[in-house]
Amino acid sequence: MDLSVRIGSLEMPNPLIAASGCFGYGLEYEEVVNLASLGGVAVKGLFLNAREGHPPPRIVETPSGMLNAIGLQGIGVHRFIDERLPRLREAGARVIVNICGTTIDEYVELAKILSQEEGVGALELNISCPNIKEGGIQFGCSLTGTHAVVSAVRKATTLPVIPKLTPNVTAPATFARAAEDAGADAISLVNTFLALAIDVESRRPRLSNVLGGLSGPAIRPIAVRMVWECRQEVKIPIIGMGGIMDARDALEFMIAGANAVQIGTANFVDPFVWGKILDGLTSYMQRHSIARLQDLVGTMDTSAPAAAHA
């Protein structure tokens, strides 16, 4: 059985990638999961410099989901290269570095710096973080901005370039097209949905940042729809995510059009989820006689609905 997937020059043995911001720098999970067994590890979003992030409270639970406004606390790209990347390389992880900037130049500089390092598998451009004003969301919410930042990074690196799209727009597929036109190797979607939770007793927001990003199973049906829409619009690989909790959810994204998937919030609920999903994928392939998992991508059959009475 072949579960492999390729994104530009990045070859992954399976389509399961740890979602950025939900897996630290990967090393935090070394005792729980063999990092080499994952398709890839998207590390916590990195700026050029270290950042403290927002004061707590930084997360709050909502029905079947959670809001976060971490504010991209991070060690900056240089400490990442010095302290984490060598250990990730040793562990055999396929590293996807999620990069954030406030200007196109910063994205380009990050791309150049990371391109010189051994062990970086791909760059995921975070142009969709809803929690900080300067987190690139100004690019992610404008078609010309998306095109500009992707083109600029494209010219600066030979690494696979994967812009991560926001769901907080009318038509994500138009952004997918802009990204493809600008030379992206793949797109990731979705980042979190901009949201608000208020404590009614104190009438105050539950997060220090007021607004946060909604992730988890609550958003899954919307994210699946967006992946499907993007699949109609672009040919490049799609990395789908949003509330994947088990193999069935991962398969749902793939059938909708995702070539690979990221798993974020589920990892908090069950850090051992990786092995369970991988097992689920292989048993599905057996059950349905699917030799290459990529053959499943985008195969939703709209000729008739599923029987309600299974």
Partner: protein, 276 residues
């Protein structure tokens, strides 16, 4: 720096649920594999029930590590106080129910150096990490005292447990129904003032944040080392989400930094924490 055993995830069966009061209960869980690895001050990430609402696990100190007559670990327990949805469910569970338990997690308490005394300061459900610490102290033959405060005398639990281990007990209640009338920091302050030498007594504290801040300040003023176990909303317990941060000052760096309390804590040097 960050010391951690590989945590285990055990779908533990509830062995018993003893309701201590209208808000507190002790839930005994068949997760001996976790108990065998747990050091005092470590915690679990717990989820009772299926489905995605509630979605995330919740952090709980390991309360007791329960052994049979031969000393083999048979179970663990948690001391639960009702505060919201998950703690509410944990209060109602019946034997046979299942609770997913991930642990042990976090940095444990450091045993006292230089053979001094150990003082444990507990506020309310902050008693939880001290049952295992008291056992460890007894095994090390460190003289131990428990300063234990609660709202009322009816919310003071497990006193016999600590007495049996030879722990001296000092009580305080906010309504004056038992022990000193007022906060637990009142008898603590008196006792710290009566101590002869600085540094010979290690103070361990767990409870509401204002209490921890007060204990840390008192310990610093009397030149005694102090470790506090902090509560934070925790998304993952493993360092993955950066939700649980605490501002601490590193030696030599005037600028405080956020560190993740699930891995750098929950036990911190009381002098390093930047209290609000």
């Amino acid at each position: 720096m960050i010391v951690r055993m590989s945590p285990l995830d055990i779908d533990a069966t509830v062995i018993s649920n003893v309701r201590l009061s209208a808000d507190y209960n002790v839930l005994t869980l068949a997760a001996p594999e976790i108990g065998a690895e747990t050091e005092p001050g470590q915690f679990l990430m717990v989820k009772p029930g299926l489905g995605t609402d509630p979605l995330l696990r919740r952090p709980f100190s390991v309360f007791e590590v329960l052994r049979d007559d031969l000393g083999t670990v048979r179970a663990i327990s948690i001391l639960n106080k009702r505060a919201g949805v998950t703690t509410g469910r944990l209060y109602t569970l019946e034997p046979g129910a299942r609770v997913a338990c991930l642990g042990p997690l976090g940095t444990p308490f450091t045993p006292p150096v230089n053979g001094g005394e150990a003082w444990m300061v507990a506020g309310g459900v902050g008693l939880a990490p001290f049952a295992t610490l008291a056992e460890a102290l007894a095994a090390l033959e460190v003289p131990a005292t428990l300063f234990y405060g609660a709202r009322t005398g009816e919310e003071l639990f497990y006193l016999e447990f600590f007495e049996r281990l030879g722990v001296r007990i000092v009580l305080a209640t906010e309504d004056g129904s038992r022990g000193t009338h007022g906060r637990v920091t009142v008898p603590l302050e008196t006792a710290l003032g009566a101590l002869p030498a600085p540094g010979a007594t290690t103070v361990y504290a767990c409870g509401p944040e204002p209490m921890l801040a007060a204990v840390a300040r008192l310990a610093a003023r009397h030149d005694q080392p102090c470790e506090v176990s902090l509560e934070r909303v925790m998304g993952c317990g493993l360092g993955g989400c950066y939700s649980c941060v605490v501002p601490v000052r590193s030696p030599g760096d005037p600028q405080p930094h956020f560190v993740r309390s699930c891995i750098a804590g929950p036990v911190f040097d009381g002098a390093a924490v930047v209290w609000e």
